[in-house]
């Protein structure tokens, strides 16, 4: 529907309004910064939930033959811990930064599709709630985060646990795809004049590559989940061996998604580190082009390594060799990145502020995770390592030591921009040291336990195998790790009461987000900036001969902004309704699905036809 000239004038007049407040403004927001905050707060809540799940696991494993948790509870908790951390914590924490920072860093006033963006958040929230509602039915997913067939068949998993997992992940997949389309177009299409692709900040590049991975990998798991769902709900036999189905097909489909997924989990952190290191070394990122191409190469190759998760399945020497070689190959661009980060700090003037602590911690920890990954790449060795705590050690070093350290660096780095307040430096350093020590105490011994015979996903272990001592150390470590996040929370609450007086550019940053007030006004840039090279803000400060003046807050008159909208939320509710309808097919027949679809269509139609403003 066309907006009339009168509508447009009205939009202009209200553009200079004071910041909206109240619940309705949040439910209808299409402002990428607010969506970012929603993502961040929700994801952080799920991260803490996943952390509590982990601590419960660690308490159970702190002693042999422990009865603290029943086997069934343990299996639900380890499955939910993994699923939560991957899909409800790390990915949406990255999405918080995609949302808040990408438009700012490319000099844009908005994302390409503000309502699609909001929709992706509401669907994510719905998926997280759907998945966790399973606890209230005593039927949380309990089949491991990769849900191998044929354990997941109706026959061997008769309860609702696997259903919650299958349908919950489908919901989350929609959120990821919607967001990926949005950011892919935003990055390609909404860069400020002069910001050629090879002048984009590295965080934007890594995020861009992540969106490509999302777009190509998620459809594969969508199909895998559809096949599993059809087996469980409609009586097909895709993964039922007695009817000719093959459990190995699930493994292939899952890992064709699953391996790119791990790059989806790490690339944003790579991008954040590539922002933080130069700023706090006071020199540019070393090897910009190499960083771009190595990131792209990792993503491309990431689709060619999936069966390294299947070395123990007996695929035969040709397949084993192929995947061993591609896996080793992917270590090369990864190493290139680490060396370029080292090259960035080398010869710099390192400013020891909290973001830098976490960035350096990231490098230190990720090296270890990367090296254990190379050890897995050799099938004869991996036959001992797979499915043991050695693997658990590896992926926690790359996912926690890598992604979480990186995301935490980003949180401290961009906190002033997002909230207008500085976090406390001392508390930040306490957080860092507790996290570093707790993390290493928890996960380093796992390398040793794994190589010495402790398999993974075991709810207990007997006496006499020698596993007690290191498990106790790990349990203590996990408590220290948990404490570090209590410190972080305390930091957030303590500083939240202070005034919003963070400067626009507290760190002497190089990129465009530091040119606007903290927090930014709704339209981000009063004037769309013109870009002449990489590190545009350093260039501007160099030309000026000193720091830039504090940017003023303006009225925003004449700046066109998209209208808020409730329809993304409605559509998200409808989509969730469809999945709830599938879960309840045996209770209410098709009517749940019908109601869900109706709400979905209603939401989508209103979305399509409302004036965008």
């Amino acid at each position: 529907m066309a907006t009339t000239a009168l509508d447009q004038q009205r939009a202009h007049a209200t553009a200079g309004h004071a910041e909206k407040s109240g619940l309705w403004s949040w439910l209808t927001t299409v402002d990428h910064k607010r969506v970012g905050i929603l993502y961040g707060a929700t994801a952080f809540f799920f991260f803490l939930l996943g952390g509590i799940e982990a601590i419960l696991l660690r308490i159970q494993l702190g002693s042999p033959n422990s009865t603290f948790l029943s086997p069934d509870t343990y299996n639900q908790l380890f499955t939910m811990h993994g699923t939560t951390m991957i899909f409800l914590a790390i990915m949406p924490l990255s999405a918080m930064f995609f949302n808040f920072m990408i438009p700012l860093m490319i000099g844009a006033r908005d994302v390409a599709f503000p309502r699609l963006n909001a929709f992706s958040y509401w669907v994510f929230l719905a998926g997280g709630l759907f998945l966790n509602s399973s606890f209230f039915f005593g039927a949380a997913p309990d089949q491991g985060w990769y849900g191998y067939a044929n354990l997941t068949s109706r026959q061997y998993s008769p309860g609702m646990n696997v259903d919650f997992w299958t349908l919950g992940l489908q919901i989350l997949g929609v959120a990821s795809l919607a967001a990926a389309v949005n950011f892919f177009v935003t990055i390609l299409n909404m860069r400020a004049p002069g910001m050629k692709l090879m002048r984009m900040p590295m965080f934007v590049w890594m995020s861009f590559i992540t969106q490509v991975l999302l777009l190509l990998a998620f459809p594969v798991i969508t199909v895998a989940l559809i096949l599993l769902m059809f087996d469980r709900f409609f009586g097909t036999h895709f993964f039922v061996p007695s009817a000719g189905g093959d459990p190995l097909l699930w493994q292939h489909l899952f890992w064709i998604f699953g391996h790119p997924e791990v790059y989806i989990l790490i690339l944003p952190a790579f991008g954040i580190i590539s922002e933080v290191l130069p700023v706090f070394s006071r020199k540019p990122l070393f090897g910009y082009a190499a960083m771009v191409f190595s990131g792209a190469f990792i993503a491309f190759l990431g689709f060619g390594v999936w069966s390294h998760h299947m070395f123990t399945t007996g695929m035969g020497p040709i397949a084993d060799t192929f995947f061993a070689l591609t896996t080793m190959l992917i270590a090369i661009p990864t190493g290139v990145k680490i060396f370029n980060w080292l090259g960035t700090v080398w010869g710099g003037s390192i400013q020891y502020r909290v973001p830098m602590y976490f960035a350096l911690g990231f490098i230190a920890m990720f090296i270890i995770g990367g090296l254990s990954g190379v050890m897995h790449s050799s099938p004869p060795a991996d036959l001992q390592q797979n499915d043991t705590y050695f693997i658990v050690a590896h992926f926690h070093y790359v996912l926690f030591g890598g992604s979480i350290f990186g995301l935490t660096a980003g949180a401290y780095y961009w906190w002033p921009k997002m909230s207008g307040r500085m976090l406390d430096e001392t508390l930040g350093k306490v957080h860092f040291w507790l996290m570093l020590i707790g993390f290493n105490l928890t996960f380093f011994p796992m390398h040793i336990l794994g190589l010495n015979g402790m398999p993974r996903r075991v709810y207990t272990y007997p006496e006499g195998l020698g596993f007690e001592t290191l498990n106790q150390v790990e349990t203590v470590g996990s408590l220290i790790l948990g404490l570090s996040f209590v410190v972080f929370l305390f930091n957030i609450f303590k500083t939240a009461r202070g005034p919003r007086n963070a400067p626009a550019d507290p760190w002497n940053g190089a990129t465009l987000e530091w040119a606007i007030p903290s927090p930014p006004q709704e339209w981000n840039f009063a004037e769309v900036p013109a870009v002449h090279g990489r590190d545009p803000l350093w260039e501007a400060k160099r030309e000026r001969g000193g720091p830039l003046p504090e940017p003023p807050r303006v009225s925003g008159e004449g700046i066109h902004l998209p209208n808020p909208s409730i329809w993304p939320l409605v559509a998200a509710v409808g989509l969730t309704g469809v999945m709830v309808g599938v879960m309840t097919l045996h209770i209410v027949g098709p009517w749940g699905v019908v109601v869900g679809l109706s709400i979905l269509f209603f939401g989508v139609y209103n979305w399509a036809f409302e004036p965008a403003g």
Partner: protein
């Protein structure tokens, strides 16, 4: 629909409208979706031999002596395929008329597209019902499961496309698709072409190759 994007058309870094870029991105992702479904079908089209079921292409006698007649009706599906292919042409003609501001031409060709779409979906519904009557369901064996999943999801995509184009036809009828808004139709047309191309792969894989 939204004229927010219209203003953006002048400013995008690639020169492409955001929504056009978005539909291409979505189509790229959907390629992987259908590639996975087609691969699944190829993996399972033979493994049904471990169980009973009507043979799709040729008469088959089971080990127990029961004879099964072929159930695929190539002529009907070929008709549907041909009409789907023509519908892509029709939607291009509809778009050309929209861009030229010819409302009548737009309505006629878009209606022709819709007719083909309806026929195709109707053909699939008929075929599915026919197969179920002859004993092939999702549950019967892996051929049935893979066949219905693949063609069912494609058919769902066609149905959504029909709903989309029908909505646009109603908009066009109300005069709401002037040349300046022809992008709305172009995006739907791109989606429609994609759905057609997927069928061009599915048709030989499922119906022609034995």
């Amino acid at each position: 629909m939204s004229d927010h994007a219209h203003a953006m058309q002048l400013e995008t870094s690639t020169g492409l409208d955001n929504r056009k870029l978005a539909i291409w991105t979505f189509i790229g992702s959907e390629c992987l979706f259908f590639a996975t479904l087609i691969s699944n079908y190829l993996v399972h089209k033979q493994t049904w031999l471990s169980g009973p079921g009507p043979f799709p292409h040729e008469r088959w006698t089971s080990p127990s002596g029961q004879a099964f007649e072929p159930i695929i009706e190539i002529p009907l599906v070929t008709m549907g395929t041909a009409l789907l292919l023509f519908s892509s042409l029709f939607v291009v003609l509809a778009l050309a008329n929209a861009q030229r501001g010819n409302r009548n031409g737009l309505l006629v060709w878009l209606a022709a597209t819709l007719f083909c779409g309806f026929f195709f979906v109707g053909m699939q519904v008929y075929e599915f019902t026919h197969f179920v009557h002859r004993g092939l369901t999702l549950k019967t064996n892996l051929f049935g499961a893979s066949f219905f999943t693949l063609t069912g999801f494609h058919g769902t995509h066609v149905t959504l496309g029909v709903i989309w184009l029908l909505t646009l036809w109603i908009e066009a009828f109300r005069g709401k698709i002037p040349p300046a808004k022809s992008l709305n139709l172009e995006i739907a047309a791109l989606y429609w072409h994609f759905v057609d191309v997927v069928w061009i792969v599915i048709f030989p894989v499922v119906y022609l190759i034995k």
